[in-house]
């Protein structure tokens, strides 16, 4: 295979390397000899540790992505952005209310958003960051929760915001408010917990714990299976 592999020219912080076609930015950096400490987590597009900035030799426009997901292309200029601490308000969720003012109270700076849309253009998950920030301003917690759901907290929106806002923390607050106060609590869950506390299943579990392996196997093989749909 080796002789048929096509090589791609990339520039890591300005220095030229040739790497095999088909690598991601992350594996290309490793191929170049970098051993990652920061900037690498799940390696699968879920954790946001690998926020990356790149442009092309003849195209200065900056682009943003997750290094573990983006495939390298000819003449890419690469750098990684280390994740840095960002403004986060400390709060006790139990003392909050899920109303319009709450978000503004905890993150008053969000009124500074002037709608430049850089955050949305930056988001590697292609979320509508600016729209959810304006939902946050209007106090529409549910919409923020919904629009921001797939956020991996890579930090790129905050890194790029000219007003120094931290959309991902605003979104996190809204999702927690939604989960805690706006989504209806699960009644059957509550009931089951009460039943367990009252000892309803104790005898049955005790019996199962004592049962011989043979007995368990028999019951297991005969157990009734609920359809998946």
């Amino acid at each position: 295979m080796a002789e048929t592999t096509r090589m791609v020219d990339v520039y890591v912080m300005g220095k030229h390397y040739a790497v095999p076609e088909g690598l991601t930015i992350l594996t290309a950096l490793e191929y170049c000899g970098y051993r990652m400490v920061r900037g690498c987590g799940c390696r699968a597009g879920f954790c946001g540790a690998c926020a990356t900035v790149y442009n092309f030799k003849n195209d200065p426009q900056l682009r943003f992505d997750l290094a573990c997901q983006k495939t390298v292309e000819q003449d890419m200029y690469l750098t990684q952005i280390p994740f840095f601490p960002a403004a986060k308000t400390i709060y006790d969720l139990e003392e909050l209310q899920a109303n319009g003012d709450q978000v503004l109270k905890l993150y008053p700076d969000i009124i500074k958003c002037f709608g430049c849309n850089t955050c949305t253009k930056t988001c590697p998950q292609e979320l509508e960051v600016m729209w959810y920030m304006s939902d946050a301003l209007r106090g529409d917690i549910k919409e923020v929760a919904n629009k921001s759901f797939d956020c991996v907290i890579c930090g790129l929106c905050a890194a790029r915001c000219p007003q120094g806002l931290v959309p991902y923390n605003v979104a996190l607050l809204c999702r927690r408010l939604y989960g805690r106060y706006l989504a209806k609590p699960s009644k059957h869950l509550e009931e089951r917990i009460k039943e367990i506390e009252a000892g309803k299943f104790d005898a049955e579990l005790k019996g199962l714990k004592k049962a011989s392996e043979k007995e368990l196997r028999e019951r297991y093989n005969k157990r009734e299976i609920e359809p998946a749909l």
């Binding site: 295979m1 991601t24 594996t27 490793e30 170049c32 000899g33 051993r35 990652m36 400490v37 920061r38 690498c40 987590g41 799940c42 390696r43 699968a44 597009g45 879920f46 954790c47 540790a49 983006k70 495939t71 986060k88 709060y91 006790d92 969720l93 998950q125 292609e126 759901f149 797939d150 991996v152 996190l172 999702r175 927690r176 939604y178 989960g179 805690r180 989504a183 699960s186 009644k187 059957h188 869950l189 009931e191 089951r192 917990i193 367990i196 299943f201 049955e204 579990l205 199962l208 714990k209 392996e213 368990l216 019951r219 297991y220 157990r223 009734e224 299976i225 609920e226 998946a228 749909l229």
Partner: protein, 553 residues
């Protein structure tokens, strides 16, 4: 779009889809199960394991890669590490901050302990964020903890420790509610009813999910709560050795700053190991779904101070790892795809296993299909795989289901121009989970006084094979239990004098067994994927490591 020669097989999958929609393969018979495993499951390849020659599990078999690190040399020279002054002095040290570490820290704190978290990467960079499918809990009226118990035991081939399974199934609903109250956005109906799916080996629908970002959602919330509670944490600071006292109790840990190489000493009355799994050891050269830091460090730390491990000869290979495209090889295709109705199909478009058998069975059947029956599909880079027919989901459950239920999967494959609502996914088993680990009791206590463990690093609750959704459950159940138990333990602990004698004795044992020279320096901390033959700068600093670290020869 797939390359042309794979496309031919895709056509066969499409051609048989309608017929297959009506076809349900039977479950495996009891008599078929063991032979399938013995013949095809990677755990049964004899040459892949060996007996441990030193330590509490001497004589037990474990994969070569794990044996090497368990028998590893310490990273420190005890003679040069000064324990007399501590950089941190706390009640409870939590090592690792995935779901189990965060839960343990929160509960230890809630129970009055002064807590420090030391973690290897960023706070929350862990296997937990990768969990997609969901978390089990028997909370629907047609379900019960007893059904959950049965399923868990059966999945684990009846080897699970009954007390642990009992704790798991009884605590499950309250763990889910704890997260609900912390603001986790569970998938629900408008009236609050949980939207629950079935999973491999489960007899009822009991998977709680948050789209296909379940672990991410759980972790985002817990990490935020750790910050809200003001719990002190150190990032990029893995533990590299545990400290004992002269009474044989845990007394703290030695941490390494991954960037500056500096060591620091934590004195703690209790330590909770929550370091997760081992995927990055690439057992038998399998690719893995695990995060960058999954190098089984916690096992090494605990083993060296005498903690017993359990079920270390059984690894979980997730049946559906990505086989194509190459860029995401080995990454997880969540079981939720099968849960939603997708079948497993060979190159000819035929089903060959009921898709919701427990994981070890499905993985074995896929390996059989490729390696013995020659009905796998070969990719341009020479990987083999079978199809997971995701387009069936929209046919069964209505247009748009794939997009709604599997946004992460759609996004991931979409980057490589594969539309999983319309095209099947090529998959092959991938190294996923450590079924066993540090032996714990129902409070999370290990066999070493003051040492607790929770989550994937611990073992016993899943027996020899874990079911879907039982791991993210285990994190919260045993993380919370370990946090509480550690905080209570501390209240009556009588600390002795910290020493590193245990490390000295360990090294002596290695010398005696003739292993010291041939074994690596561990814990491993990070895999090395860099093409980098020689570290000139590290060589230059050799003299400067007098702070106590050992340098590889």
């Amino acid at each position: 779009m797939y390359p042309a020669d794979m496309e031919a097989s895709v056509k066969k999958v499409e051609a048989t889809r309608e017929k297959r929609l009506k076809e349900t393969l039977p479950r495996l018979q009891e008599a078929e199960r063991q032979p399938l495993l013995e013949k095809y499951h990677p755990d049964y390849i004899k040459a892949s394991m060996r007996e441990l020659k030193v330590g509490p599990n001497k004589g037990d078999r474990t994969p070569l890669e794990i044996a090497d690190i368990l028998e590893g040399n310490s990273r420190i020279d005890p003679g040069k590490v000064d324990l007399s002054k501590a950089d941190y002095d706390v009640d409870v040290l939590v090592i690792g901050c995935g779901g189990s570490g965060a839960s343990a820290a929160l509960l230890a704190r809630e129970n009055g302990a002064k807590v420090l978290i030391a973690t290897k990467l960023r706070l929350g960079d862990a296997n937990t964020v990768g969990a997609q499918a969901g978390t089990q809990a028997a909370d629907r009226p047609q379900d019960s903890p007893a059904h959950h118990y049965m399923d868990t035991m059966g999945g684990g081939h009846f080897t699970n420790i009954p007390e642990l399974v009992e704790a798991l199934v009884k605590d499950a609903p309250s763990a889910i509610q704890w997260l609900e109250k912390l603001g986790v956005n569970w998938d629900k109906e408008p009236d609050g009813t949980m939207h629950e799916l079935s999973g491999g080996g489960a007899s009822r629908r009991r998977l709680h999910s948050a789209r296909d970002y379940t672990g991410l959602e759980e972790m985002r919330v817990l990490r935020d709560e750790v910050r809200n509670r003001g719990i002190n944490y150190l990032e990029f600071s893995p533990a590299i050795e545990l400290i004992m006292d002269d009474r044989g109790q845990i007394a703290g840990a030695v941490l390494l700053n991954l960037e500056t190489n500096e060591l620091s000493i934590v004195r703690a009355r209790a330590v909770i190991i929550a370091t997760g799994g081992m995927g990055r050891l690439h057992i038998q050269n399998f690719p893995t779904t695990n995060h960058y830091g999954a190098t089984a460090d916690g096992l090494v730390l605990a083993y060296r101070v005498g903690a017993k491990l359990i079920f270390m000869d059984t690894m979980q290979y997730h049946p559906t790892g990505v086989a194509h495209p190459q860029q995401i090889l080995g990454q997880l295709v969540t079981e939720k795809v099968r849960t939603l109705g997708a079948q497993l199909v060979n190159a000819e478009g035929e089903q060959f296993i009921m898709p919701l058998e427990p994981r070890d069975m499905v993985a074995s059947a896929i390996i059989r299909e490729c390696k013995e029956r020659g009905k796998g599909i070969t990719t341009p880079t020479g990987e083999q795989g079978v199809w997971l027919d995701s387009p069936m989901i929209d046919v069964l459950r209505g247009e748009g289901t794939v997009a709604r239920e599997l946004p992460a999967m759609v996004r991931q494959f979409g980057r490589y121009n594969i539309n999983i609502s319309k095209e099947p996914m090529l998959i092959y088993p991938t190294l996923h989970y450590q079924n066993g680990g540090i032996k714990i009791d129902a409070s999370g206590a290990t066999t070493v006084p003051g040492l607790f463990a929770a989550g994937e690093a611990s073992g016993g609750v899943h027996g020899r094979n874990r079911l879907i959704g039982n791991s993210t459950l285990d994190l919260f159940v045993f993380g919370r239990r370990a946090g509480t138990a550690a905080a209570n333990y501390v209240k009556s602990a009588k600390p002795g004098k910290p020493t590193l004698d245990r490390v000295r004795r360990w090294q002596a044992e290695l010398e005696q067994a003739g292993l010291a020279k041939s074994r690596p320096i561990t814990p491993l901390l990070l895999p090395n994927y860099a093409r980098q033959p020689y570290d000139y700068l590290a060589d230059y600093t050799k003299e400067m490591l007098s702070a106590g670290q050992v340098k590889p020869a």
